[in-house]
């Protein structure tokens, strides 16, 4: 960290920033002195870590508060009532999708019918390729013998996504309409977006029963924030003349919203829908941790027992579902209305709907006569779990492969990771906080520095300091490694348009994968070890880094690179003196996203076995320790927010200074 700050100090020039960096170096110096004193044995223990006795019992206070809300205010009664409604909805989708014995006792819908409808919708949205993708996904799921678990997941998604959409849309409209709501909602949203998902899960379980209902609630809440943001953004972007035209047409307020604002904000709202679907999918897989059956639970079980073949197959199913849902919803975003010539017959205008109904009915009837059309039996599926398992394990047991993975593991653990962790842990708490504040001050200035001091101070007071530092260590080391790989990759790819496109597409696709998926290759290569934790974070965090590096470099105005060329710059000079400085603010956004992703992933990795906050969080899921769960979650959130505020402030300021568009 010291390196980063000194680097940045070097290129700050304006007087305000100079005093900023001067202050930062003073803080840095104090931190170094404190640490040296500690090494010399001169620093009393009470200044190294806050003594146990001084730590306020936040968890107990929170528990008192939660109990008050839960029992005395009767929130539990309310949520249990809501649970019944939700359960009713979930039972309907569960019955339709995988034949759970509940009202309306119709299902399960034959898999062929679902695949057929997916093909028609895919064709309508994106031609033959999309049709193939849609049908292929469902055919694969059925043939591989995962239909039921996949539909368990889908049945929750089908309830959670619309719920998140409507709640997000409603709150988004309110936030757009009333400045007070907006002000109230903004900080809650940013905390929600950095809160580890385990913190969503426990309250969901306590208030909404274990199983699909809690899963659906956690999923819904998780997916709401981007919908709110996109709705507000879309409504703000409606051109004023369109609104005025609505007013001059004599719209009432309601008519204006319904007929003018919402349809004009269509694109942003649909982007919100896409994000809702993708976040729901990511979260619904993770609800496996609270016992939600489905793809996630199966994957968790398979990875836990190191059955790599089956894990791989389930991983493929999840990825296919993610890609299909993402591509189709994105195709829907860019789809523009096209007129029909006059006199087009009614059936021609509604051909897609009719085809869907036709295909659906056809397969439903066919399934009555041909058993495999309805369901693929246990013995009929094509799962090659065992064979793939043997193959992967055989490959990993090969000498060169094993040597490589072991070497990487050894070097990483013994030379880099462990020493770094021990170093971080050896820094006295006040010195650590000063370091973070110095970082925030030199990058973001006064306000982020104050936030950093408050946030990390709170973390220190939470009593989970060591675990927080270990969490931070995993994040920093993984993101640093990801930087070393992702940025050069991005720079290389950005050199040709063709490769930029390809790598961007790969990044886009990778970003649609539910985060859980990233554990699979890490576990495959490095087993259930600490290296896998860093590796899974690394892969996950590399995606935004590479992507924003390419985007940053591509948005450098061509006049500037042309000017550099005409000035006789070599390729390297052009990169270092022109392109990178201009791309840096955009790259910083990617860096920020990488850190946020890392904080998210490090919690999931608790599943592999870590010693950080995630581990403790996961443990709370087994009980009803809501207070502790919240304290732990807020610790993660506060650390993530510190970085978020600082880096984003720097990126915006820098963009403004360089005159780049946002």
């Amino acid at each position: 960290m010291a390196d980063i700050t000194s680097d940045l100090k070097a290129d700050t020039t304006s007087p305000a920033q100079w005093s900023r960096s001067k202050w930062a170096s003073v803080l840095l110096l104090v931190a170094v002195v404190l640490t040296t004193l500690r090494y010399g044995g001169l620093l009393p223990d009470s200044l190294h870590r806050i003594p146990e006795a001084m730590i306020p019992p936040f968890a107990a206070w929170l528990d008192v508060f939660f109990n008050f809300v839960k029992d005395d205010l009767g929130l539990l009664t309310l949520t249990r009532t809501l649970t019944e409604g939700l359960e009713w909805l979930l039972d309907i989708t569960a019955n339709l999708m995988f034949g759970k014995r509940r009202w309306p006792f119709i299902g399960p819908i034959p898999w062929t019918a679902v695949a057929g409808v997916a093909a028609v919708v895919g064709y309508h949205l994106g031609g033959w390729r999309m049709a193939l993708l849609g049908a292929g996904t469902f055919i694969w799921t059925a043939l591989i013998g995962q239909w039921t678990i996949a539909m368990e997941t889908m049945s929750v998604l089908m309830v959670a996504a619309p719920l998140a959409f409507f709640i997000g849309l409603g709150l988004g409209i309110l936030a757009w309409k009333y400045a007070a709501v907006n002000r109230a909602i903004k900080p809650i949203l940013s905390v929600l977006q950095t809160l580890p998902f385990f913190t969503y899960l426990l309250p969901a379980v306590i208030f909404f029963k274990v199983g699909p209902t809690a899963g659906a609630v956690a999923t819904t809440i998780y997916a709401i924030p981007p919908m709110i943001l996109m709705t507000t953004l879309g409504l703000q972007k409606v051109p004023s003349e369109v609104v005025e035209a609505g007013n001059m047409s004599g719209c009432t307020k309601w008519q204006l919203l319904r007929h003018v604002y919402l349809p004009s904000a269509r694109t942003e709202i649909l982007v919100g829908v896409n994000q809702v679907i993708m976040l729901c999918l990511a979260m619904v897989v993770l609800t496996a941790f609270i016992g939600m059956p489905g793809l996630g639970a199966k994957l968790l079980a398979m990875m836990g027992s190191f059955k790599l073949g089956r894990s791989f197959e389930i991983g493929v199913t999840i990825v296919l579902l993610a890609v299909t849902l993402d591509r189709m919803s994105k195709a829907w975003v860019v789809r523009q209305p096209v007129h029909f010539e006059r006199g087009t017959p009614w059936w021609r205008k509604h051909i897609v709907l009719l085809m869907c109904i036709g295909v659906f009915v056809f397969f439903c009837i066919a399934a009555q006569f041909v058993q495999v059309f309805a369901e693929i039996g246990r013995k009929q599926n094509f799962s090659q779990g065992k064979e793939i398992d043997t193959l992967i394990k055989g490959f990993l047991a090969l000498d060169p492969v094993q040597n490589t993975t072991q070497a990487i593991r050894y070097v990483l653990n013994v030379w880099i990771l462990n020493p770094f962790r021990d170093f971080l842990l050896s820094i006295p708490t006040p010195a650590f906080i000063l370091l973070v504040v110095a970082f925030a001050l030199s990058l973001g200035g006064g306000r982020p520095a104050i936030y950093a001091a408050i946030f990390f101070g709170l973390v220190a007071l939470s009593g989970w300091w060591d675990r927080s530092v270990i969490t931070l260590y995993s994040v920093i080391s993984a993101v640093t490694l990801a930087l070393l790989i992702g940025v050069p990759l991005g720079i290389t790819a950005a050199r040709s348009e063709k490769w930029s496109q390809r790598v961007l597409l790969a990044c886009d696709t990778a970003q649609t994968f539910p985060s859980f998926i990233y554990l699979i290759p890490a576990i495959m290569l490095f087993g259930i070890t600490a290296t896998s934790v860093v590796m899974s974070i690394l892969i996950f965090a590399m995606v935004p880094l590479t992507r924003y590096t390419i985007e940053g470099l591509r948005t450098v105005p061509p006049e500037m690179t042309e000017a550099a060329d005409m000035a006789g710059a070599t390729r390297m000079q052009k990169l270092m003196k022109v392109q990178l400085p201009l791309a840096l603010p955009t790259m910083a956004v990617g860096f920020n996203q990488a850190i946020m992703f890392a904080f998210f992933m490090v919690i999931i990795a608790a599943f592999i076995g870590t010693q950080d906050l995630g581990q403790e969080l996961q443990r709370t899921l087994a009980g009803t320790d809501l207070g502790k769960n919240f304290v732990l979650g807020i610790c993660v959130s506060l650390m993530a927010l510190t970085f978020d505020l600082t880096i984003m402030k720097w990126a915006t300021e820098r963009k403004k200074a360089l005159g780049l568009p946002d």
Binding site: V242, A245, N247, G250, C251, P263, S264, Q336, P337, H339
Partner: protein, 338 residues
Amino acid sequence: MTAETVISCKNAWKIFGADPKKYLRSMPAGLSFDDIRADGYIAGVKDVSIDVTRGEMLVIMGLSGSGKSTLVRCFSRLHDITGGTITVEGQDLMSLSEKELIELRRNKMGMVFQSFGLLPHRTVLENVAFPLEMRGQDKHARRERALEVVKLVGLEGREEYFPRELSGGQQQRVGIARSLAIEPDIWFLDEPFSALDPLIRREMQDEFLRLQGMLGKTIVFITHDFDEALRLADRIAIMKDGAVEQCDTPDQIVLNPATEYVRKFTEEIDKARVVRAGVLAQGQVMGEGEPVEASASVQDLARLLVQDARAVIPVAQSSKVIGGMDRAAALEILLEAS
């Protein structure tokens, strides 16, 4: 002229800023635009008094930021004015309740926008029928009426198209059709042709004149293009920094600019094309011989002015001689132009 006043605007102010009402009350008289800006406020409309009579076409013109769009938005109460009064057909705009305002817009006003303001998710027909739909007309009747107006603006056969499938000129025809759908008495046009390229603009102006010839509405037309203003206007109001510098007929503005700003503004204008014989006609000396038409511009008469030997040429309006035009003065205007 004793024509009925449709829009009457008295000492209207529109100030943007933190607390414009309070600021306007405490403001000393005679502050300039820049003084107000120095106080942290922007005077969008600055003490404007102007009347629009029935059937008249008033063109408001000025550079961008001069407040012309703001003024027309005050006429339609898309902006609430800060001070003064604006009455439309005798009703004080600011005293109208929301419901009454909506009623007024649904029945009396139509507006056309610079960048069209079309709803992207609706077809041409649905866009045109939108105001009718808002006032709750039944489906059949509004379709009928919308088809009628679409035909009027020459977009027959494109009823089912979406705005993005049309060219700019066609999109603005949709905008015009929409504003006419409710048969408004008052028609606001906010730089309707500025976003179009010059050839289409010319064509649309002709189209607009044709429509106005048929419909005879009361029109407030905004433009920053002087040629356009001269082609269309009965009267022109020239605005600068929120205030109206001069409001008069095109001839008067060209011949007798009220302020230095207006003079500069009109400097480049080919006066011979603007000034008509009727304006140059003086009552005292009628002149003799064949009269010329009052509505003919000096340029139209160029050949005659050069070849004719008379000192005073009679000018006739509806075959009645109304005065005599001093040939030398007319020639002077013609020469100045070239």
